[in-house]
Amino acid sequence: MALRVLVVDDSAVVRAVVKKAISMCGVEVGTLYEAGDGGAALEILSRHEVDIVFSDLSMPGIDGHALVARMAEGESTKHIPIVIISAAPNVQTHLEDGCPAAVQAYIRKPFRPEDFRAILASVLPKVGRPPHAN
């Protein structure tokens, strides 16, 4: 089954670049959802099944921290792997300091398309997905 991806970032430009980077990873992407903040992301997650979430941290309204916490509380969302994408210099501490287990990795901005390939290769087998379409 093709991968169902949710990209969460308040920048439409970043969402477009992330989508492009994911599409270059050799992974068969089925549906690629977009959300401009955590609230919109939770709305999508309540209506659709998603295999992996890529989320920024700093966003207006429900930010990435709150999104991760809310997903950890939800029975249907707590197992969805989350990859944090952030320009914050301390982004890795979110993986090290009591972050919900669903947060599998982080990508620091500015990122390269290769960063996504490596992350997907690492994360997808953990959720029973092959890292590449072929």
Partner: protein
């Protein structure tokens, strides 16, 4: 922290980020061309060992160029024009993270807010301690500025 240390980091980091984020090549200049009337100004607040804000100012045309390079479209593409401010703000967001990382490393006490982008220079431009001007290889001026104070321990 000496003023010139922050500005040295800003002077060195801004071209790297412009290149990495949007494939824009820029060099510092001491004699920048004046901006036209159509100026975009982005600012972002940061907190930590230093508290203050960073600023990026350029023309709308250059901001559209940033968006075009990020999106992989022509600069006159409607999407590039529409997302110029978004691209400028995101570039500043990434620049802020890179500057703080360079100055302090990955310490947990550094935080920064959301970028704000306006059609005119930020109201507190007069407070800028210093601004570094850059010229891109296609002739656009980009100013990077900072205002800050040391946070009491």
């Amino acid at each position: 922290m000496r003023t010139d240390t922050v500005m040295d980091v800003l002077r060195a980091t801004t071209p790297k980020i412009l290149e990495q984020v949007a494939f824009v090549f820029a060099e510092p200049t001491d004699s920048p061309e004046p901006f036209g009337e159509d100026v975009r100004a982005a600012s972002i607040d940061f907190m930590g060992p230093l508290t203050g804000s960073l600023h990026l100012t350029t023309s709308s045309l250059c901001a559209a160029g940033l968006a075009a390079n990020l999106l992989g479209v022509e600069p006159d593409d409607p999407a590039a024009v529409a997302y110029g401010a978004d691209a400028l703000g995101e570039t500043l967001n990434i620049l802020c993270g890179a500057v703080l990382l360079e100055l302090f490393g990955a310490v947990d006490s550094n935080h920064f807010g959301l970028p704000r982008v306006g059609a005119a220079p930020s109201p507190d431009t007069s407070l800028l301690v210093e601004t570094v001007s850059f010229m891109t290889d296609d002739g656009h001026r980009i100013d990077a500025g900072a205002v800050w104070r040391r946070t009491a321990p």
